[in-house]
């Protein structure tokens, strides 16, 4: 039996914010109280956070019931600034993997380098989970969170559970 548990998390609130980070970063930080993330990182406490998704895209994580208010505030703060803010809470699913050897479990499904040096805590990476696109981030040492499109939720859940069941192969840590 594996020591890694896979949990399908309750859908939280997610907003995609696109625009020049120098112009929209402060407003995003304002609604989450998280720092503006640098490339390939995520900031915040897991409930409220900011993820760097692309050079012109931030992912805002926040409780589901705060999304409408946050969108209104973003619209007001960014009035006149070229940007796009969309509620994508229902478009995505979120998973948490926790336990010893969690890097190994996810490494089975992605070509991204998940070694401690390349993927430290706070690092976010959009990549491929077997056959579909997903984003993974290192929330804590021994905890990885993953998001994928909602249409492939069942596929990704089965994938993660199957990977976790077989146990870590020992890519990144001695067994």
């Amino acid at each position: 039996m594996s020591e890694v548990t896979v949990t399908r998390m309750a859908p939280g609130g997610m907003i995609t914010l696109r625009g020049d980070p120098a112009e929209v970063g402060a407003a995003a930080a304002g609604v989450t109280r998280a720092e503006v993330p640098g490339p390939l990182t995520i900031t915040g406490d897991g409930v409220r956070g900011l993820g760097w998704m692309a050079p012109d895209e931030l992912l805002i994580l926040l409780p589901a019931d705060e999304v409408a208010e946050a969108l209104e505030r973003l619209g007001a703060d960014l009035d006149g600034v070229h940007h796009l803010a969309v509620d994508v809470s229902d478009a995505r699913s979120r998973f948490a993997l926790e336990g010893r050897g969690v890097r190994d479990i996810v490494q089975k499904l992605t070509p991204a380098d998940l070694s401690e040096a390349a993927f430290p805590v706070g690092c976010l990476r959009r990549t491929r989970l077997a056959q579909v696109a997903g984003a993974i981030w290192m929330a804590e040492e021994s905890r990885i969170e993953a998001i994928c499109f909602r249409s492939v939720t069942d596929y990704v859940e089965t994938l993660l559970r199957t990977a976790a069941e077989a146990g870590p192969p020992g890519f990144h840590a001695p067994l």
Binding site: P39, L40, A54, P55, P111, D113, R125, T127, R128, A133
Partner: protein, 105 residues
């Protein structure tokens, strides 16, 4: 296995995270061009044995297009550079010249 560094996000992306976009630096022929030029734009590709410039999209990552210079024989990658250019930059040409002297001849 081909691994390219995406110049937009800095990730070392595996080939399976990328979508190929074919030969780079084509001149887009449109209305007013000759039939021969339009045909060449649509169908005729260099398909060289050796140095090749290509377009790739970081489809499973940041989603941005970029360019790569690589050798089609050895899969050696000479470098990647942003999409917003109509020709390879000097440092890429220098890197290719260092590895494949006289490649243009």
């Amino acid at each position: 296995m081909l691994t390219l560094r995406c110049p937009a996000c800095g990730v070392m992306a595996d080939e399976t995270e990328l979508a190929p976009g074919g030969e780079a630096h084509l001149t887009r022929e449109g209305p007013g061009s000759t039939d021969e030029a339009f045909e060449a734009y649509l169908f005729l590709r260099k398909n060289p044995r050796g140095v090749h410039f290509e377009r790739w999209r970081h489809a499973m990552g940041c989603g941005k297009w970029f360019h790569a210079a690589r050798c089609t024989v050895t899969l050696e990658v000479f470098g990647t550079y942003p999409a917003q250019t109509s020709g390879p930059p000097e440092e890429i040409l220098a890197a290719i010249e260092a590895r494949r002297p006289g490649w243009q001849g």
